[in-house]
Symmetry: C2
Subunit: 212 residues, 2 copies
């Protein structure tokens, strides 16, 4: 009977997370490795006066792309080579690290939403034409969902709302504190980093569900 | 009012996971990096005829220890150096990898409980005195809780039961499919790997809670 109780509980949990779900309620997953967004000024400092970012792949969010160019990020305890730049250039340079990178680099990067750099630590970035000592910009990206106002209506979410996300599978579970970002120019996508994806056993073709 | 509903929901979730909890219901966390357990035969093959494992640190489980000795693991796509050996030697050699390592090495290691090697892929291990081509033994460790029968009674758990574990904090959530392992020789500890810890924002001094 104990076993039966456990089976019923487990099945109910799986149904809540993954089970009787209509396809239109599922959210695609975008998995990020560590990456850098550069300002125009820093692009020139690192890659030279005439530098232009060279797109190799479009990303899920309209207008965003992975670039051929990579940089080395150097912290007080170590460095990481071949960190991909994501384009286009932005108003401020920002380095999105994995939590494991912070130990290797010796930098205490906080969990932040993209663009919210105030109070983040600086770090050095090196490119083929020079290095830049940033005074701020190192962060671990806070997991988030991009969606349009139409998606937001469908999912009963508001911009900046904090939701939970259920992940199915052998290594599944629930991720708390997921920020919803609603803009007209978004494409529906749940953004996590490689460590989060590996923890939950998620690959790029998986889909997840908002749990309220 | 919408905001109020959200606050109430969030607070209730936090209370369920982390809130009004007696200290004796919390479980300490042990975070593992990739590591290797060697058989006597493979210890000799890799480190020489008179090799002995040299303890540098006791681990949470009685009799288990981290060794001075490290090995290089080599897969079809790459290698990883300086993988720590955990002692004492075991009946069979086993390599516990992070999910990220599997991409780097080019090996599809399944999620497994320690010791359950049947069907796991082989890989090469190299030490200072030679290499061994394993026919099996590469796995990603399935998250688990070690406890004594007395702990099991306190937590209302049985050996081999699958439970969920709630993790507090800014990057918290719930980890599903956690195996409970009950033995007299255990010490209460929730074992996860570095990627799982980083995903949940957990450090070694944190404590977690079983959620049924």
């Amino acid at each position: 009977m104990d076993n039966m109780d456990q089976i019923v509980t487990t099945v109910l949990q799986e149904i809540q997370k993954c089970g009787i779900i209509k396809e239109q309620n599922l959210i695609p997953v975008g998995i990020s490795n560590r990456h850098v967004h550069l300002s125009e000024e820093h692009l020139i400092s690192l890659f030279g006066e005439d530098a232009k970012l060279c797109k190799i792949k479009d990303l899920s969010q309209p207008g965003q792309f992975a670039c051929q160019e990579c940089v080395t990020v150097v912290g007080p305890k170590g460095c990481i080579e071949n960190i991909r730049i994501l384009g286009p250039t932005r108003a401020k340079t920002q380095i999105e690290l994995l939590a494991a990178d912070c130990f290797k680099l010796g930098v205490k990067a906080p969990l932040r939403e993209s663009g919210k750099l105030t109070g983040t630590p600086g770090i050095a970035i090196c490119g083929p034409r020079g290095c830049v000592n940033l005074s701020e910009g190192a962060m671990i990206a806070k997991r988030h969902i991009h969606m349009t106002p139409q998606d937001a209506e469908r999912f009963c979410c508001r911009d900046n709302e904090i939701v939970r996300v259920g992940c199915c599978g052998e290594r599944g579970g629930i991720l708390d504190n997921v920020v919803v970002r609603v803009t007209e120019a978004s494409k529906l996508d749940f953004h996590i980093d490689i460590e989060e994806a590996n923890c939950m056993g998620i690959i790029g073709s998986d889909k997840v569900k908002i749990i309220k």
